[in-house]
Every structure is written in structure tokens, then in C-alpha cells.
């Protein structure tokens, strides 16, 4: 048992979105589909204005609403706390997508896979080897690169992040990297805590 999760260091994040493209190449994502996004927020009035970059991905909630509403049993939580979608079981009803308060799910369509990244209906060799994983019509999302986690590696977005703004590890292990950085930086906050989904993602600033 473990509780895999992530800490986002907002002081480090520069909103470069290297994570987004790292994820796209690791996971062969179709055009317009993201398992992670880095958003920006401007606040204040000139000249006292600030911008913060806010990385987002599936929060792998402990009380995952997506899992609760899934009628087919496709969404499930692994022993290590990673919330998964089984593409073989998913029927593409979208219930999970509307139940996720964080808008972190996408539906992959046949048209999307046929059109390809260059929009010409001409798939690259990269896409041909990558799109095999997708069942058209199903809902997909971040799984913390579960294959990589199984192999003892960090998710792709974490390893490529130029500023180490993403800290991944097991929240059950008091000595894990995310737990250590949370202690050092005086704790963090979860996204939309009021939704009571118990995200395993924290923001420190």
C-alpha cells in the first residue's frame, strides 16, 4: 500500500509547459488532449500586478468522485492510490468527466486519432506506435505514468520539469520527497478542498 501523490512548488514553476509536452510525448496524446496543464493567473492592478503559474493534473483523489460515478467499473484505484481508467471497460459515458471537479478528463475519439497531430489524416510513425493504447470513445486521464511508477521512475512531467516544481512520491512514507518538502515549506493546500475529494496533490508557495 502506498499513497502516491504530487506536490507543486509554485515558487519554482515558471509556466513553461515543458511538463505538458513531456507528457504528450510519453503518453502519445492526441492534439488538444492534455493529462497535465499549467495555467496562469494574473491578479492585481498595474503596476502592482502578479502572475502565478499553476500546474494541474489528475489529483488522484482518495475519495475520487470519478470512480464513484463510473457505471462500468472502468475507473478504479490501484493499491498505491493511483486512480486508473481501464480502457477495455470504459463505455465513454462521460459521467466521470462531469464528476471530476478539476476538469482533468478527456474523451478520445476516433476522429481525433485519425486526424493525427499534423491534422492531415497522415499519422506519423510516432503516433502509429502510440495510439494503439487508446480505445476510441473512452475517457482518458493522467495515471502518474503508472508504467514508470511500476518501474521505480518518476512520471515524465516530473523528470523533465526544468525547475523541479513537481515533486512526486508516496505520502504514506514520512521520508518521501513530497512529505519532506511539505514539512520544510510549512504545508500546502489542495485544490478545491471544499469539494471533499481528498486530492493527493498539494500546492506550496
Amino acid at each position: 500500500m502506498a499513497r502516491m501523490g504530487m506536490v507543486f512548488d509554485l515558487k519554482r514553476c515558471i509556466g513553461c509547459n515543458a511538463c505538458v509536452i513531456g507528457c504528450k510525448q510519453e503518453n502519445s496524446l492526441p492534439d488538444g488532449v492534455f493529462f497535465t496543464k499549467t495555467l496562469s493567473e494574473d491578479y492585481g492592478v498595474y503596476p502592482s500586478v502578479k502572475r502565478v503559474y499553476i500546474p494541474t493534473l489528475c489529483n488522484h483523489c482518495e475519495d475520487a468522485p470519478c470512480e464513484k460515478v463510473c457505471p462500468s467499473g472502468a475507473t478504479y484505484t490501484r493499491d498505491d492510490g493511483i486512480v486508473m481508467v481501464d480502457g477495455e471497460k470504459c463505455i465513454g459515458c462521460g459521467s466521470c468527466a462531469v464528476a471530476c471537479p478539476y476538469d482533468q478528463r478527456s474523451q478520445v475519439s476516433k476522429a481525433m486519432l485519425d486526424r493525427g497531430l499534423f491534422g492531415e489524416g497522415q499519422l506519423t510513425d510516432f503516433e502509429k506506435q502510440g495510439y494503439e493504447r487508446f480505445t476510441p470513445g473512452t475517457v482518458i486521464k493522467c495515471d502518474f505514468c503508472s508504467n514508470r511508477v511500476d518501474a521505480g521512475l518518476d512520471p515524465a512531467c516530473v523528470v523533465t520539469c526544468p525547475t523541479n516544481a513537481r515533486i512526486f512520491g508516496d505520502f504514506d512514507d514520512p521520508d518521501s520527497k513530497p512529505n519532506r518538502v511539505m514539512r520544510e515549506r510549512g504545508g500546502g493546500q489542495t485544490p478545491l478542498a471544499e469539494k471533499n475529494t481528498k486530492p493527493k496533490v498539494y500546492y506550496i508557495s
Binding site: 509536452i21 510525448q25 502519445s28 492534439d31 492592478v45 508504467n147
Partner: protein, 871 residues
């Protein structure tokens, strides 16, 4: 097998990892390329063994696979069958054999070579292969049609050459605690090794608590991550820096010891601007203790006077420092605020914090040397240096660093070399009178001044410059004015897109290219420029070729290997093979080999020298570069990928120990006078139009011409990139597009919301921008709080035109169309043109016709705004 058990992550599919080097920008982050057992490249990661990028890649580096598999890549040599050339005109390519392609090129280039080699306009811009860039030197041609030097660092590189004897410069991330970024994204979004810089910068900020202050008209990533954003009116950074220096000097916040011992600030300067010398040419200084003049090298000097007015050898003179102080008398924060709009209180508190953080007097022990520790530094790049008075601008920023004694000090402002070639090379050489020799020509020698000008862009009139290629257009429009006695008729282009990058109206650049007898492009995908080519020579890409490179790594040194991860996908060749084939047919192999030996430094080791009569492959040249660096052969590099280490401290810190740095650049005076004499001798008719005022040994607060444009152009326009578009082409890449056009910063013309309201505009309105030099361009306006009220910001993501590359989204015209390309807006010293322009805004009712067809940025942006579009 259930999908949960299937291997779906690309990096874990059966295959191998190949060590190589990224080329999504010109720099040299090393990477690991994953190739599946089926031979497909399906993941590229950063190389964790490189202390520079530490396993990290920027978004562009992450997107390299999409360049490799771009279906629009040139797949074989081709020739044009449509005689009509123009933007958006299909060249109607016809595949031909390599032999035929080489024969055509040799015939057409050879014709010009025979008639007059000056007629060839090269645009060879592969920074990772300088030997290709310098191919035209093998027939003595110094023409330059590529944008390097304008949009890059026309004044920046010569200035670094004078101050550090280096190509570039950066603050020392290892020790710096107070980092001013002026008009640059160093450490956050752009310039030197973006992934590496941001990695080290984030650690410094978070782990060490470094404070960052960013001075810029638009809140960029750097501004967003700074403790303090100082919005500044565009093109006034020099005046801001001078006001900082004013405070530092007037409040005594200076490293006097450094100024006296390590710079030429005490050297006495006469009223002619030249140092006061004795008959042997030795320079006088004033010993304040003895109260008399002594020669600079006199060991009895008790105290070098920095201030005062003296008479020595019958000449009225002052120490160089006093000269600067005199200039600064007119540069109080209050006075400069009228230009910069930066409040005096802001200038004062930054100056004080900066000086305090610099810990003047502190030392640190590194590798057995006791060095001054100055953990505060002023860093700058394109946005601050791209000025008409570029040399003065650059110099003004350097002088802020001089005052606190941080030049090449731990924690301070360090020189960065382009490619050091050998592991033990140190860049600094002694000059005259104890001074370090200024090395403004970081990219090679400038040819001797000629009239009629040999170089179409007048390079030889800028004896300090890099290249002023924008002047190609000025000369093309009025060749008589410049006494031009030939007309270029052939272009040789390699990995360069001048039609996109050049400043000045596109229409002018189209006209030049339309009028070429022959254009050959060596490239991998269609661009604005390749649409005008007569022959395409398709090169293999970064995943298919060999190379060895070191390109201005900010904190490290060493060579980085590129090796083929896969066989070439198409019938393409390496650049080396292409240019050797051309050289052979043009009988240039021997002279090119000589050029390569010099440019890559092979001449330093006889057994590495390329031999006459022999052609070399990309692999052979790569191996020689590796051996030259550290004596290791290719097998060693294949195993290790690179020889990158932290920069040796002897090279990083005070490599000029024992020499005096050029606080005062006397060269500005001597070069000016020398050029005047030569122009008079040769009867150059435009001598009176020459911007002689630009040659100043110390920077002045004089306004750049941008501030004197007609008042109806009431705003200051500038363009910008962020880390997703850093350096070369990215916008044909679907992954890059997928992130760029989702950031509203890159989809509208940015205006301060107050300014927008005052103009009666609303966000989303379609507007037209015009400058006194060109335009119009069209776009949607967005009112934001993150812009200076006098500024208009346009992302480079809106700069493309419709071309054969259908993956590229076009927008409402290129900002560069509005930039000046004339002598008046060109730095007379370095050839750096002004890179901002005054603009006026007009609201229009509808898009111009060209934007009503498909394929525009706005079409994609509207889809994104509606929701998920594709999902």
C-alpha cells in the same frame, strides 16, 4: 491483457536509449533518445549526467520528435517548376536526383563565383555547425543575409567582447543573491540554455533565497517570478541603468578597490577622449597620495585618483571615472524618470539593495584562490540591448556591474564563451598599458573597409560589429546612395529563414528574393524562405546526423555529441556532405578545409587538421572537435555523450587576473577617427550621414531616435517570445502550437487596460498597428494589467505568413515589418538596429481578406475559446 497491465508509456516500451544533443534551439542541452525495437523514436528526455541541463528539457526540447516526423519534411532534392515567386505561391516542386541538384547549384553559384563572388548572398545560420556558417569565407565572401546580429546581439556580443573578452555573459547562479534581469528571460524563459538556466535559477531562488528584480515593459515569466517587477517605458533601459549608477556613485556604494586596481577607470582621459600618454604611449594616472601624475605601471602609486581634474603633459585631463561621473551628473533618478517613467524611489531602493547584496569587500576561497565575492549582478539581453545606440546601452549595464566590482567575480556578472574549443583555453589576452585586450569580434574578423563596399550590408563600416543584415534592404532600395558597384544575384541558404526573421517590411525582402537569379535552400521543412528557393537540398535532421558542439553554456563547459539515433527517414544528407559536394564542384574544398581548420580550431593540433583535397563527413568533423577539446575519441563520446562539467573556476572567475578591464572604451574614439580617415581617403559619399555620435567611450543619456518619431505614433511597440518559442522555428510543431495558442499572452496584441480604455477600445477589438517604418499589421487587442501604459506588446507567435508549410498558422502580419532598417536607426558602432518602434493604433471593423480564409491563428484560438474543440 487488461489495458492497465499493458505498457503504454513510451519510455518503457522495448528499445534502446541513445545519447545525443538537442537542436530545438541553437544551444546544446544533452538528451537521451529512446528508439523502439521497431526503430521509432518515441521519447526524448534530458540527460541527467550533464551538470548543465541536469536531465531537464525545455518545452521545445521536449517537442523534437514532432520535428523529426513532420510529414512536411523535405524528402528528396527538388527544383522549382513554377517561375512565379511570392509569399503563398506554390513553387510546384519537382523531385530531382542529388547529382542533378548539385550540378544545378554548382552551375548557378559557379556563374556568380566567376563573375564576382560578392554577388553571392549567403544565409547560413546553423549555430551548432559554425563550419557551415563560415563556408562563404572559402571564397572571401563576407556578405550576410541572415538575421543574426539584429534580432540577436548585434551590440551585445561586441560589448561582451570588450568587457569580458567573451561572446555572452550571465550572472553567476552559483553565488548570486540579488539578480537584476533587464529585458531578458535568462533563468526563466529565454536566452542561454533555457532548461539549464531555469533549473539553476529555481534552485538559487528557492534554496538560497536569491532575490530577482526584473526590469521590462511587459510582465514576462521573469517578471512574474521576480520579487519586484519594474515596468519601464520601452527603449529607455540605458537611462535607467545610468540612474542606478548615479545613485551608486553619489551614495558611495562602489567597490573602489576594484575600480582602482582592476579597471582602467583611473586612467587619465584628455579632452579629445583619448588617454593621456607619454611619448612611449604609456598612459598617465594621478596618484592622489603623492598628488602628482605617474605612469600607470609606476609601483610607487599610493592611491589611484578616480576623481578630479588635472593637467598632465600639457593636457587638461580627468580620470575615466570622473568622466563617467560628469555624465551621471545629468542622470539623477528624477531626471531619468522623465524618460524611463521609473519612480526615483524605485531606482534608489534597487541601487541600495543591489549594493548591499554585493557585499563589497567580501572574499571567498575557491580552488585555492581568494576571490572577491560579489553576489549581486545586473543581467540583460535582447530587450535591453537591441537599441540604436546599442553599444552605449550595453556599456551602461556593464558599468552598473563595474561599480560594485562584480565583473567575473563569484556571484557577479560573468563572461560566457561561445565555444572554447580546447579544455584549457582561456579567453583573455593582455592588451596595451596593463589593460585586457578588448575582443569585440567574437564571430571572427571584420573585413577591411572598402569603397565601393564589398559587403552588401556594409559590414566593413562597422569595425566593432557582428553583422547588420537589415541594411541589405536599405542598400537594395538605394544602391547608388551607397556606391554599390554590383548587384547580388544568388543566395545560398542553410537552416535559415531570413524572410521570417529580418526586420523591415516583408515586401522589401520579398522583392530582393524575387530578383535573385538563383536561390538554393538547405533545410528540413518548408518555411517563408524556402518558398522562394529554386532548388531544395534536404538535410538530414538532428536525430540522423553527427555533430559535436558547445554553444555558450552559461555555467558549464565541454563538448556535446550528436549521433544518429535512427537511419535517415528520407533521401537526405548531412550539411557537411552537401557543402562538400558543392565545394568539390566549385573547386573550393581546399580553401574550405582551411576555413574549417581556423574556425573550429583544428589548426592548433596538427594531426587534427583537415587535409587538402579531402572531403570530410559530419562524423569525422565531430570526432575532431571532441579530440580537440579533451583528447577523447568518438567512442568515448558515444559512451559518455558529452564532456560537460561545471566551468573551471580559473576560467569562470577573473580569467583576466592581473589585467585591467575596460571601464572606459577608448577604442570608441580611435575607431571612430580611424573610420573617418578611411572614409575621407576613399571619398565615401555618405560620410556625413554616418552616425558618428554613437561612438562614445562612456554611455550618455542621449535619446535614441525612437523617442523623436512623429507624435501621432504615440505608443512603443515591441515583440517578444517566451520559452516555448525561444530562438528558432517552433510554430510548425503541433505540440508547441498546442501550448502556445492556449496562452492568451500569445494570441492578442497586448495593451495596458487603462491605455486601452483611454483609446475607447475593448478587449477583442480588431486593431491595425502602423509604425513610421512599415506595417500595417492586424490583430486583436487585449487589455491587461501586465503592460506598461506606453507600450504595445506583440508575441512572435503572431508573426507568420501563409506558406507551403500548412502546419504554421498565419496571423495579421509580422511585427518586424514595422521595425526600422535604415542607417538612422542603426548603431554606428556595432550595426545593431533599433528593435522597438513607435506605433499608432486604429480600430478596424473587420479582418483584412487574408485573415478570413482558414489556417489562421485566430481560427485555432476561437476553437480553444469555445471549449475543448477536438474532444
Amino acid at each position: 491483457m487488461s489495458s492497465s497491465e499493458r505498457v503504454v508509456q513510451n519510455s518503457l516500451k522495448p528499445g534502446k536509449w541513445v545519447r545525443s544533443t538537442c537542436k530545438m534551439c541553437l544551444h546544446s542541452c544533452t538528451n537521451l533518445i529512446h528508439v523502439t525495437d521497431d526503430g521509432v523514436v518515441n521519447k526524448i528526455e534530458g540527460d541527467p549526467s550533464n551538470p548543465s541541463n541536469n536531465g531537464k528539457l525545455c518545452p521545445k526540447g521536449n517537442a523534437a520528435i514532432m520535428r523529426h516526423y513532420d510529414p512536411q519534411r523535405f524528402k528528396q532534392p527538388m527544383r522549382r517548376t513554377n517561375p512565379k515567386k511570392g509569399p503563398g505561391v506554390d513553387p510546384k516542386w519537382e523531385p530531382i536526383s542529388w547529382d542533378e541538384a548539385f550540378d544545378i547549384c554548382a552551375r548557378e553559384i559557379g556563374k556568380s563565383l566567376k563573375e564576382d563572388p560578392r554577388k553571392i548572398l549567403p544565409s547560413l545560420e546553423d549555430f551548432q555547425k559554425m563550419h557551415i556558417w563560415t563556408w562563404p569565407l572559402s571564397f572571401g565572401n563576407f556578405n550576410c543575409f541572415q538575421s543574426a546580429g539584429t534580432i540577436c546581439g548585434g551590440a551585445y556580443h561586441p560589448a561582451n567582447g570588450y568587457i569580458h573578452a567573451s561572446f555572452a555573459s550571465i550572472n553567476d547562479v552559483k553565488y548570486c543573491n540579488y539578480w537584476i534581469n533587464d529585458g531578458t528571460g535568462d533563468g526563466f524563459s529565454s536566452h542561454l540554455h533555457a532548461a539549464a538556466s531555469s533549473y539553476h535559477m529555481a534552485n538559487a531562488r528557492v534554496d538560497r533565497g536569491m532575490k530577482v528584480v526584473t526590469v521590462e515593459p511587459r510582465l514576462s515569466i521573469s517578471g512574474a517570478k521576480s520579487e519586484e517587477w519594474v515596468p519601464i517605458k520601452p527603449a529607455t533601459d540605458r537611462q535607467f541603468a545610468l540612474s542606478l549608477s548615479h545613485v551608486l556613485i553619489n551614495e558611495g556604494l562602489c567597490d573602489w578597490k576594484f575600480l582602482k586596481q582592476d579597471t582602467n577607470a583611473p586612467y587619465l582621459v584628455g579632452e579629445d577622449g583619448l588617454f593621456v600618454r607619454d611619448n612611449d604611449g604609456e598612459i598617465w594616472v594621478w596618484d592622489a597620495k603623492a598628488d602628482k601624475a605617474k605612469l600607470w605601471s609606476d609601483e610607487t602609486i599610493g592611491d589611484f585618483a578616480l576623481t578630479g581634474e588635472f593637467e598632465v603633459a600639457g593636457k587638461k585631463c580627468k580620470p575615466a571615472f570622473q568622466r563617467f561621473k560628469d555624465i551621471l551628473d545629468g542622470c539623477s533618478p528624477e531626471e531619468m524618470e522623465k524618460i524611463t517613467t521609473v519612480p526615483p524611489d524605485t531606482v534608489r531602493h534597487i541601487a541600495r539593495e543591489f549594493a548591499e547584496a554585493a557585499q563589497i569587500g567580501a572574499t571567498i576561497e575557491i580552488d585555492g584562490r581568494t576571490l572577491p565575492l560579489r553576489p549581486a549582478a545586473y543581467n540583460y539581453y535582447r530587450g535591453a540591448q537591441g537599441r540604436k545606440k546599442g553599444m552605449q546601452a550595453n556599456h551602461s549595464y556593464k558599468l552598473v556591474n563595474f561599480l560594485v566590482g562584480n565583473i567575473d567575480a563569484p556571484g557577479g556578472h560573468l563572461g560566457v564563451n561561445l565555444d572554447e574549443k580546447t579544455i584549457d583555453w582561456t579567453r583573455c589576452e593582455p592588451g596595451e598599458c596593463g589593460m585586457m585586450k578588448g575582443e569585440p569580434h567574437q564571430l571572427g574578423v571584420v573585413p577591411p573597409m572598402s569603397y565601393p563596399p564589398n559587403e552588401y550590408h556594409l559590414l566593413s563600416y562597422f569595425p566593432v560589429g557582428v553583422n547588420p543584415p537589415h541594411l541589405n534592404l536599405s542598400v537594395w532600395k538605394d544602391p547608388e546612395q551607397f556606391g554599390m558597384d554590383y548587384k547580388p544575384d544568388v543566395m545560398v541558404i542553410c537552416h535559415s529563414n531570413p524572410l521570417w526573421a529580418m526586420q523591415g517590411p516583408r515586401a522589401g525582402w520579398f522583392d530582393i528574393m524575387r530578383n535573385m537569379r538563383f536561390i538554393v535552400c538547405c533545410d528540413i521543412i518548408p518555411t517563408e524562405t524556402t518558398d522562394f528557393a529554386d532548388v531544395i537540398l534536404p538535410s538530414s535532421d538532428v536525430l540522423e546526423t553527427w555533430n559535436m558542439t558547445m554553444i555558450e553554456p552559461p555555467f558549464t563547459e565541454g563538448q556535446c555529441l550528436r549521433q544518429p539515433a535512427v537511419e535517415a527517414l528520407y533521401d537526405t544528407k548531412s550539411e557537411e556532405e552537401i557543402f562538400y559536394e558543392l565545394s568539390e564542384r566549385l573547386e573550393l574544398v581546399d580553401s574550405w578545409n582551411n576555413v574549417i581548420n581556423m574556425v573550429l580550431g583544428f589548426h592548433q593540433v596538427p594531426e587534427l587538421m583537415l587535409e587538402a583535397g579531402k572531403k570530410y563527413s559530419d562524423k569525422e568533423i565531430a570526432e575532431r572537435k571532441g579530440k580537440l577539446w579533451n583528447g577523447k575519441d568518438l567512442d568515448w563520446y558515444i559512451e559518455h555523450g558529452h564532456s560537460s562539467t561545471w566551468r573551471q573556476s580559473k576560467k569562470a572567475y577573473r580569467p583576466w587576473e592581473g589585467m585591467r578591464l575596460l571601464f572606459y572604451i577608448e577604442d570608441m574614439v580611435t575607431i571612430r577617427e580611424d573610420l573617418k580617415v578611411k572614409m575621407k581617403e576613399k571619398g565615401v559619399p555618405f560620410i556625413d550621414q554616418w552616425p558618428w555620435d554613437d561612438y562614445q567611450p562612456l554611455p550618455t543619456p542621449d535619446l535614441d531616435p525612437i523617442h523623436q518619431e512623429p507624435p501621432e505614433y504615440d505608443l512603443y511597440g515591441f515583440f517578444f517570445k517566451d520559452i516555448q518559442m525561444n530562438f528558432g522555428e517552433s510554430l510548425s510543431n503541433p505540440w508547441i502550437k498546442d501550448i502556445v495558442y492556449r496562452d492568451p499572452v500569445h494570441t492578442s496584441i497586448l495593451l495596458n487596460s487603462g491605455t486601452m480604455q483611454a483609446k475607447g477600445l475593448e478587449s477583442g477589438d480588431i486593431i491595425r498597428l502602423e509604425s513610421p517604418h512599415g506595417g500595417p499589421i492586424y490583430g486583436r487587442v487585449a487589455g491587461v494589467e501586465t503592460m506598461h501604459p506606453d507600450a504595445v506588446g506583440v508575441s512572435n507567435s503572431l508573426s507568420r505568413i501563409r506558406t507551403e508549410n500548412r502546419a504554421v498558422r498565419h496571423a495579421g502580419g509580422h511585427f518586424n515589418d514595422m521595425l526600422p532598417y535604415d542607417l538612422k536607426n542603426t548603431d554606428g558602432v556595432t550595426g545593431q538596429p533599433e528593435t522597438a518602434c513607435r506605433v499608432k493604433i486604429t480600430k478596424v471593423d473587420d479582418w483584412p481578406e487574408s485573415l478570413k480564409q482558414g489556417g489562421t491563428v485566430y481560427q485555432m484560438v476561437d476553437e480553444i475559446a469555445k471549449g475543448k474543440g477536438a474532444h
